[in-house]
Each structure stands twice: as C-alpha cells, then as structure tokens.
Symmetry: C2
C-alpha cells in the first residue's frame, strides 16, 4: 500500500529521535549539575557582553570616563544578589514552577499575569536572538574573515538548537553540560591569570587616564549617559528567572535543588561579571567594532592569539549560543501553561513523541530567526529591545510575592516581605530607567507589543469560551431524525460510480442520482445506460446553460434540502483513487470542487467513496 508519510517519518526519527513513552517522563528530570548547565547559561554567558555594553556607552565621553564602569558594575552586582534572594523565596513558595506568570496572576490578578506572560515570551525570543548574535560575534572576533556571513551562521545555530530541543529535555542537558562548565573554567582561568599578571606588575603599562578628576568626568558624562551605561549593564541580570520558571523540571526535591542551583549560579555570575569589568579596566581595554572586549582581554592576558586565547573564544561562543537554550526550555513550557489557561492556541499544549512541546520550539525558532535577519545579527542593535521584558516580569513577580506573603503571613513573614519588596522596588526602578534611556533605541516597540499581546490573549480566551458554550452538551436534546436523503452526482457509468451507488443504497431508501447535462452526451444515451446499470435508483437530469457542473448541482441540492429541513442530506461522491499520486494530474478534480462548494452548506454531509485503482 503506498504510504507517502514513510520518508517523512524516517526524517523525523533521525532528527528528533525515537518516541519516548509517557511513563518515562520522570526520568527526564534535571539534576543540579545538569540543571545549572541547562538553565544558567543565559545569566552566566551575559558576562561575555555586559561589560562591553557598559564601556560602549562610557567611551562616548572619552576613554577617561571608562573607570566609572567599576562602580556601575558593583551596583549591578548588588542588584543581582537582591534578585537572587527574592527569587529564592519564589521557588520555595511555588515549587510547581511557573514563575512570574503564575505568581502575578495568582496574587495581582489576570491582567498582571498576562502582562508578565507577554513580557516573558518576548524576553525569551530576545534571549535567543541576542545570545546567538553575541556568540557569532565571539567567533568573528577570533576569525575576522567570517564576519560577512554572520546572519547565515546565526541561523545555523538557531536550527541546531531547534533540533536539539525537539529531541527532548535530558538530552539537551547532556549536550549542554560540557560547554557551560568549559566556559566557567576558562573564565576563572582568564580572571585569575589576568589578576596575577596585573598584581605581579607583568602588564604593559596602561596609558594614564586623562587629567580630569572624577567629579569633572561625571559632569562631562552627564547623568543620562551614566544611566544609559547602567541600563546596558543590566543585561547581566537577564535569564535569572529561568530557574524559578523551571522548578518542575528538577528532580525531587524540586524546590531545594532549584534554590541551590540558583544560589550557585548567581555566585558564579557576580564573580565573573565583576572580574571581567575590573580586568578590562586594569588592562585599559577600549571597546572597538570588530573585536569583543573579552577577545581583547584574552589576547592581552595570554599574550596574543595562542591556544589559550582560542579556547576562551570557543568557550564564549559555545556558552552564548547555548544560552539561547534557556529560552528553548522556558518558552515552550510557559506557552503550554498559558495555552492550558486558554489564552494561547491549544496547539502549544501538544507534547510531541519525545515529550517536548514541539510547537513552542518551532514558533520560538522562527521568531528569533526573523529578528536575527531583520537586525542583521547585530548584538548592540538588539540590546535595547531586550531588557524591558526581563524587568517587567521581575517587578511583577516580586510584587506578587509581596502581596502573597502580606496576605498569608507565613513564618518570618516580615523578613520575607522586606526581601521581596526590596527586589520589587529596585527592579521597578531599573525598569523605569531602562524604558526612559532606551525608549528611542527600540524599547518603544516592546512597550507597544506587550499590550497588543495581552489583548490577543484575551481575545483567544473569549473565543474558546464562546466555542465551548456553543458546543456544550448541557441542555442538548437529540432531535428525532425524520428522513435521510442521499444524492449521488454521476457523470457516466463506471465501477467507481457503481461502488458509490452500492454504498449509497446501504445508507437509506431515498437515494437519488443526478446527472448534469453539459452537452457531452445525448440524454437518450444517458438514460439507456442508466436503465442497464443504475440499480433501479431514480436519475434526475439537470440542465446547464453555462456548461457549469457546479451551479445546477448546488441548486438541486438546495432544493432537496428545502423539502425536509430537519432531515439529513448526504452527498455521496464517486471517486477513483489512482495508483500513483502524479496520475491525479491527468484527471479532473470535480469531486474536490463539489466538496469545496458544499463546505459552507450546513446540514449537508459529503462522503467520498474511494475506488482504488491498482495500476
């Protein structure tokens, strides 16, 4: 029997892997070690560009202003620690996971929940785009000659991530454990090595800063520029919420494992971010267009482009591209939760053969790919769009926690409220700063998209409710079926028609054959044929003045339907199925046309009776 889906099935098995039975779902959970690798690559990897994004703004006021990077980085590190303790409480309060959406919805209402969901989904798309763009930048810093192909390269990485994630959770953990720990190792090596050489005085002397004092520099810089630099640096915080959203992916005890992983992650991120920023300052690195700051540092610390340099670049590129993987875990999971609440199309709830939410993975890949193409894979152009979503969800999530603890009064509630309130206020302030300083650079787009998306969420829910009410079985009474009429359009006599007539006769006693006279054969001939092979079924011959098969037939069907409006009317279409698909090209698709025309007639049921040709 021909089956065109076999080849597609093999391709799917090759790309996605064999199906996993539902009962094995628990074995796909994450340990702390794999959890750190899967969910922490985003915040850890931002070390690769957060320092640089600060310096790129400061350098506008001259190289003498670069020293301000260190105090800014210190403030950001403090913010990271605040957010860490705030989310630690969320993890314990919501061991089922769900993050900002669940917390905000439960404590602040549906509207707040939908804003958080919208912000997070946009954030995940941006995470994929920014991380991959920065990863490609690490690669092109090491090999400047591939710079021209960066969009294509970025799309290849997106494709690899999509396939990896369609294969399922644990395997992506396995794939990604190696690069995450490799990156941590190389950064520790770079920072300690760089610090040692600096302390030993083994460094080329840094050109002396311009002869202006700190106060003078600040005046030159302006408060706005400092705030812009701070906003840029806040990219270091992106992705922190991934662990709290993914609690349920951890092995039991889920909450404890997740909280421990969070603390470890923040500790590493703060150390690496501060280390990189101080090192950049110690070595007097100035941001340039075609080489990243980390690449410059690695060159200076390891004395040129040697083995160690290339290892740092490779690790940076790998962790950045894989940071996108955080979003590949959370976007599909959050989509499925929002879809379960009927705010998104229910297709996002479908788990594939390998337990992955396939549709979410595919939608995320397509959106991120479009962003990369549109912004030509440029990290700096994407950054302004990035942080709005992150800080909206931070603020809503922690404000929700404050509300919850205030109401529920758990043990030590005052301390808990204080911690979450500090978190909510500080991330809220940062949100305002980011929105103000980045508005014209692209943040406006996200500020516009969030309310639009919330409106769409609500429209979708309204639709599902409406459909649900219309389909509800409550109060439904089966009307008695008075009659069943079957109409069989025939174009001549052959085995396919005979089979259809034979089938039609099993359905009801009232079968009517219809022949539309388009002038091909004489009516006498048609009637003679029918007498011989028509099985005694009455034949109606219809006039067609425009050689159209369709309109006389539709008029006839409407007329029959009018006779007894409460009865069923079935149109049985004889159809022969050719042995090869391309044989279809040699046959008129009249059955298809009739079917399409009847699609919008209610109470008419269309049946194709297939007659399979063998050759």
């Amino acid at each position: 029997m021909p089956n065109s889906s076999t080849a597609l099935g093999s391709l799917k098995a090759f790309l996605v892997g064999k199906p996993i039975p539902s009962r094995l779902a628990d074995q796909q959970r994450l340990s702390r070690v794999t959890g750190l690798a899967v969910l922490s690559s985003d915040p850890l990897s931002s070390v690769a560009y957060a320092t640089e994004e600060i310096l790129r703004v400061l350098v506008l006021a001259g190289t003498g202003a670069l020293w301000i990077a260190s105090p800014i980085a210190a403030v950001i590190a403090g913010l990271m620690i605040i957010v860490c303790f705030s989310y630690r409480q969320t993890i314990h309060a919501y061991p089922g996971g769900g993050g900002a959406y669940s917390v905000a919805r439960e404590n602040l209402g549906t509207q707040a929940g939908l804003i958080a969901a919208s912000a997070l989904l946009l954030d995940y798309v941006m995470t994929v785009a920014v991380s991959i763009a920065a990863g490609v930048a690490a690669l092109t810093s090491a090999f400047p000659q591939v710079h021209v192909n960066r969009v294509e390269l970025a799309l290849v990485f997106v494709a690899i991530l999509a396939v990896g994630n369609l294969r399922g959770v644990r395997e992506s953990g396995r794939i990604f454990a190696v690069p995450t720990y490799f990156f941590i190792g190389m950064m520790v090596l770079l920072i300690t090595g760089g610090a040692l050489r600096f302390l030993l005085g083994d460094v080329a002397p840094v050109p002396p800063p311009e002869a202006v004092g700190p106060a003078g520099n600040l005046a030159v810089l302006g408060v706005f520029l400092v705030l812009r630099a701070f906003s840029n640096g806040c990219t270091a915080l992106t992705g922190v919420e991934a662990i709290s959203n993914g609690v349920s992916a951890f092995r039991p005890p889920e909450a404890r494992n997740a909280a421990a992983t969070l603390m470890l992650m923040i500790g590493l991120a703060v150390t690496m971010f501060l280390g990189t920023t101080l090192l950049a300052q110690a070595y007097g690195v100035v941001p340039v267009d075609d080489e990243t700051v980390v690449s410059q540092l690695a060159r200076l610390v390891f004395g040129g482009r040697g083995v160690a340099y290339y290892l740092v670049q490779a690790a940076t590129m790998l962790i950045l591209v894989l940071a996108a993987n955080t979003a590949y875990n959370d976007f599909p999971r959050l989509s499925s939760i929002v879809a379960r609440d009927k705010f998104m199309p229910r297709q996002f709830m479908n788990q594939g053969d390998r337990l992955a939410f396939s549709n979410g993975i595919i939608v995320l890949s397509v959106l991120a790919g479009m962003l990369l193409v549109f912004f030509q894979g440029d990290t700096h152009a994407l950054i302004p769009l990035y942080m709005i979503g992150v800080f909206v969800s931070f603020t809503l999530s922690q404000a929700g926690m404050v509300r919850k603890e205030w109401r529920e009064r758990p043990a030590r509630w005052r301390a808990k409220v204080a911690i979450n309130a500090v978190g909510a206020v500080s991330t809220g302030v940062v949100l305002v700063v980011v929105a103000a300083t980045k508005f014209s650079e692209g943040a406006w787009l996200i500020l516009l998209l969030i309310p639009v998306q919330v409106a769409v969420f609500k429209a979708i829910r309204a639709h599902y409710r409406l459909v649900g009410r219309q389909l509800s079985i409550d109060g439904w009474r089966a009307a008695p079926v008075l009659h069943h009429t079957v109409v069989v359009p025939v174009g001549g006599m052959n085995r396919a028609v005979a089979e259809a007539l034979r089938y039609a006769r099993t359905l009801t006693g009232d079968v009517r054959a219809v022949y539309v006279d388009v002038g091909r054969r004489s009516r006498e001939e048609v009637r003679r044929d029918w007498l011989e092979h028509g099985m005694g079924i009455p034949l109606d011959i219809l006039e067609s003045s425009f050689r159209s098969l369709l309109s006389p037939l539709m008029e006839y069907i409407d007329r029959v339907r009018g006779e007894e409006p409460d009865s069923f009317l079935t149109v049985v279409l004889p159809e022969f199925v050719p042995a090869r698909w391309w044989h279809h090209l040699l046959h008129n698709q009249r059955a298809l046309l009739i079917k399409a025309a009847l699609l919008f007639r209610s109470n008419v049921v269309v049946v194709n009776v297939p007659y399979h040709l063998r050759r």
Copy 2:
C-alpha cells in the same frame, strides 16, 4: 452564510468577463476582416525581423555581402507562395480545421500525427516568446533608455495577452483588428515612401559596395553562411498554418472565408517582406545591436525620429506583441483536440465560462514566460529554436495531403498532388537546412524535445486506457453488502460529537464509538460521561503508550476491517466548523490528520459530519 469564494469570483468576473451561454457560441465566430487580424499577425509581423535576421548572418562576411539578401528573400517569397497554395488545398479538404495534426494523423498514422502535434505546440510557445521579444526590441529601439527592463516588459505583455484571451474569441478579435491594419498601413507607407525617395534620387548616397564581384563574395561567404542566412529568413514563413488550424473559428462558409483570408495574408506578407529587404539594401542599412533594421529604415525614410517614425515603431511593437495572439488562438484549440484524443490531460478540454480553453491559455503563458526569462528576452537567441517545429509540421501536413489525394482521387487530383508534393518537398528540404545550420545554436533542443513529447503523449493515452479498463462497467457484478460497520472516534462529549453519533445511527445498526486514552482524563470520568450522553452506543477505550492518537486508532480500524472484509467500513468524524476561517488556527486539526491517515486504506469511507458554529 460565509463564502470565501465571492471575492475570487468578483476578481474573475473583472478579469475574464461574465459567463457566455453555450447557445451563443456561434456568434463568437470570425469574419474575414477580424480573422485576418486575429490569425495573420504572426506571418505579417515577421516582416519586422525576418530581413534583419538575414542581414545579421551576411554581415559576418562584410558589408559587401549584404546584397545577397535580395536573392535569398526572393527564394523565401517563392517558398511562401508554394506553401500558400498547398495550405489552400488543406483548408478545403479539412473544413473542420485541425491542421497538421489531423492531416498527418489521418493520412500518415498516429506517430506522424503526434510528431506534428508536438512540433506545433512547441512552435506556438516559441511564437509567443519570439514575437514578444521582438516587440519589446521595437519599443527599446525607439526608447533606448527602457532597454534594461526588457524581460519585465515582455512578461507584462504575456500577462495582457493571457487575460485578453481568457475573455474569449471575438473580443480578442476586436481588440486586435486595429493594430493589425495600422501596421499594414504604416508598412505600406514606409515602403512606398522609401521607394519614391530612392527613385527620385532623394536619398543620401549609399557607401559603394566593396570592390568584389558576386562570385568573389560567395567564395568569401561560403555556402554554409548563405544557408544560415536563408534559414534565418525562413522565420517569415512562421505562422502561415494558423489559418488552416483555425478554419472552424470562421463564420460559415468556413472554408471559403478561411481560404480567402489565407491568400490575402500571403499576398500582404510577401509584398512587405520583399519591400523591406529591397529598401534595406537601397538605403544600405547594416544591422546593429541596439536598434532594429525597421527602426533604422523608418529613421532614414522619414528623416529622423519624427511623428511618422514613432508611428511605425508603435505599429511594429503592437503587431509583434499581438502576433503572439495567433498562438493564443491555436495552442489551446490544438491542446483540446489532442486531449480529446486522450494524448494530453483532459483538463485541456475544459472550456471556461467565456468559451475559452482556459488551461491551454494558462500553460502557454507560463511556458512562454519561462522562455523569455531564460533567454533574457533576446529575439536572436530564440530564433534558432523557432523554425524546427514550423517546418516539421509544414512537411508532415503537406505529405499527408499528398497521400490523401493520391488515395481519394478527387477532381483534378493530379494537379492537387503536384502542388502538395512541391510544398512537402520544399519545406522538407528547408527543414533539413534549418536543422543542419541551426543545430548547435539550439535547434538540438527542439529535435530532442519532440520525441520526448511524443513518448509522453503515448504514456498518457496508455494511462487513460488502463484506467478505462479498470473502471469499465462491463462484466461488473454488484457484490452483496453483508454488513456496514460505522466507527466514530470521540475525544469527549459535545454537540459536534452528539450530532455525529446521531448521524451514524441512521447509517447502520453497528455503530462503535472509540476513545483513545492519551492520559488527559480518567477512564472512569470518560465512562460516566458516556453513560449519560452516549445514546446507548458501545464505547471502546484504546490504550496509547506514546500519547499518539493516530496509531491506536489505525490499528483498531484495521482490526474491525479484518472482521468482515467484504463489508463496508465507514469512519464518521465529528467536526465543528468555526464561523471565521482564521478560527481554525486556534483548533487542533485532528480530523484532518485522521482523514489523511485513512486516505490509502481501501474500502474505508471517511465522513466528516460538520457542526457549524454561528459565532
């Protein structure tokens, strides 16, 4: 009632016009005046490039060789007259039309007929491509600045012709009568004006020919070059057969009107072709790349680019683009005849609302468009592919006439045989000359395509015969229907499912509902629901270990089918139809998946029972 086909219908009405009833078909016939306009633009228009194609070859041997154009043109003119008389006999012998295909098939056998059909169809495609390319060349000669857009321009003209012809026969006659007669007028003006100024000595002296005699020139040229020039000039003959193919499109008496039109057309064509060639020589015109010979002549005769010059260019462009219209009359008509004989897909027989063979028109447009894009709208590159088809059909058609007259011995049969024999032999000789001199320039492609196409024709006919035999009602005996089982897959209880069950119960006593357990609801809950709303129909619950709906269902259906192989098995799918098409995006398309999976199961009938939502 929502009907998505309304907008499409309006667009069609705007482009194609209102439907024409079958009984008005006769009123769409052509008079001599419109017949000349519709069917003669091809041979008449070749005046615009035939002379130039001769000169382009001769100039390779130096400007001194250009004088040979006149004798070559005289030979070609003689050939045109021979072909004219030969085809005049064909028209009278075959007043039903049909041309080379019918004549060759009837008198020389199926193989010869198919070769002729293939050659003609290729010829028509080339006619569209070459004529439009030359028409665009006339335009770009007058306005050199539009030269860069010639492919786009050519495609616009193809689109205009396609739409014009989809509107039906007579209207295209009307549209095209004006330009044809305008062109004839302008050419007569150009030739008489040019001749007068030449005879009055009112012409800038032509640079004297190089001091070599005719014999010397011939030696320089070589016989091959002369034959190539002759081959190129034979483009003047293309399209002559259009009238004999289209006899049935004329008003009665069809044959007399067609024959008279043919004689008039050849007279005009010979006069204009010879006139242009002699004029080119008198004025010493040398072919150049970016201006046509006719454009140069018009400039010289009318003294620069004045009103008269632009009128000549406009007329040339119009007739050339409209020459393509000849093919738009004949390609669809010939396709429909070949399709009626089952050598081409039967879709080519479909006459649209406006009595035009729509599919033929569309296929012709697409093929010609592809040629124009591939050859970048360059007339000279297309010419070598052009004439093989023309002369193959000339030769076969006239050889067929010889055979017919020899067998039937009509009045004055000896004279008739003589005329057709001269025609057959001379066009056969030209065919060999063209094939030999143009082989490497592209004629090989056509010589390869013709046998391939003939093989495809035969395969199509074999397929139709095979299908016909498999479908033949002869010897068919209706097997008694022992049993009819109906399977209804259900995913829960709602009004769409209830409606499907209600429908299923009218079909047979053996209805079985099936529920696939993918772990969404407990089995007890499902059974409880069923007891309440299941109408007493038995429910089978199937296990699914991979969360797949499809495979357990397919296994179940195969099992049921195995129970009683001779019975009918119907799968009734509940389906709700949303009120708006985009609502489909919000619902899983499970019914579609099940339907696709059942497509290749024979003896299984699939029925969608639609439940229409109102909002």
